[in-house]
């Protein structure tokens, strides 16, 4: 773990802006462990009242899709416009959709 002592591991930060909203990815930071990452996230990403709840997760724990798989993963959805709920009228009162 000597490399970790030299270079703190990377964490991804997610913030819930208001009660009822989902946590959104806002960026990343370095910390030695999850506890410190949470405090760093508070200090770095919530200075201007950006949120009411924080998640941090080690970047290494995220499994990401391979860009080379993009064709197989995402292309097939392109021509299936009927999957979009764009044919419904959304009342003005409904927010956050």
């Amino acid at each position: 773990m000597s490399d970790e002592r030299q270079h703190w591991p990377l964490f991804e930060v997610f913030i819930r802006a208001r009660a009822g909203l989902e946590h959104k990815h806002v960026g990343s930071l370095h910390a030695v462990d999850a506890k410190m990452a949470l405090e760093h996230a508070r200090d770095v990403y919530t200075r201007r009242m950006e949120g009411v709840s924080l998640w941090v997760v080690r970047s290494a724990d995220i499994t990401a899709s391979d860009p080379d798989d993009a064709d197989a993963f995402f292309e097939p959805a392109k021509d299936k416009i009927y999957r979009h709920p764009t044919f419904y009228e959304i009342p003005d009162e409904v927010k956050n959709i």
Binding site: W8, L29, H30, A31, V32, K35, M36, E39, H40, R42, D43, V44, R47
Partner: protein, 263 residues
């Protein structure tokens, strides 16, 4: 003018005593905020840079509220800026602990833990103070201070219970700074009058709860509490170490050079 009128022996907590008492709290927050600001751009990591800067800004915010209140009590037309920028060293009445140099990051953390725990006990007590303005200021500040102690004590545990090098360094800083904690709990006349007026706590009782908190943190950090030093630095009475003048020359430079300048 007789000497008695120059140095009045007060028997009650009047306007000038209240002014002095509030000014002590204000100066302690102000000087510590200024000290922590020296880390901006120099902290061990970008994240710590922001962490320390946040604490510094909280403290300067507290100082502004307290200085404004002190200025109102004094009723001599001095506002927060004049009190911060146009007083000389001997008129500052911060605790000597907070003017001590930052040293390495561990030294800054040790100083911060000692003062955060003191502030947390004090601000919590102010909820029962007879001084309404002090109650209001403390109600806001205590939430900030709770986070400051979480931050500083977290670091002290990491460094104390970290490598041999980090343990040795923070223990040395603790040994060095401990002598300045005697002042925190040694009342002078103003402290006693403030206590009798129900404005401030009994410092001996405050010391008990402070020590309990500190011992818990030191225990977790595998650090040893140094022996108490009977000599007291009375920074709160204007008796400072050689370090305060240097901070003030930095902090006051602009207003001293360009009086009244604004942006």
């Amino acid at each position: 003018m007789s000497r008695a009128s120059v140095v009045p022996v007060s028997v009650e907590f009047g306007q000038s005593e209240r002014f002095r008492y509030i000014l002590r709290l204000a100066d302690t927050s102000l000087i510590l905020g200024q000290r922590l600001g020296e880390w901006v751009g120099h902290a061990p990591a970008l994240e710590e840079d922001l962490g320390v800067a946040n604490i510094s800004l909280d403290l300067i915010g507290q100082a502004r509220m307290l200085l404004s209140y002190a200025g109102e009590i004094e009723a001599a037309g001095r506002d927060e800026d004049q009190l911060a920028y146009l007083r000389d060293q001997n008129d500052f009445c911060n605790l000597a602990l907070v003017e001590q140099p930052n040293g390495d990051f561990g030294c800054t953390i040790v100083r911060q833990v000692l003062i955060d725990a003191w502030q947390l006990e004090l601000l919590s007590w102010f909820d029962a103070s007879t001084d309404r303005r002090l109650r209001e200021i403390a109600a806001k500040a205590v939430k900030e201070t709770r986070y400051h102690l979480r931050y500083s004590s977290g670091w002290l545990v990491r460094l104390g219970d970290g490598t041999e090098e980090s343990h040795t360094r923070v223990q040395a800083s603790l040994n060095d700074l401990w002598k300045f904690t005697t002042e925190l709990f040694t009342p002078d006349e103003i402290d006693t009058l403030a206590e009798n007026a129900g404005v401030a706590p009994n410092l001996n009782e405050l010391r008990g709860s402070w020590l309990h908190r500190i011992d818990e943190i030191l225990n977790e950090a595998t650090l040893t509490r140094p022996d108490d030093v009977p000599y007291v630095w009375f920074g709160k009475c204007g008796e400072h170490t050689e370090h305060l003048g240097h901070i003030l020359s930095d902090m006051q430079y602009l207003q001293r050079t360009y009086p009244g300048v604004t942006w």
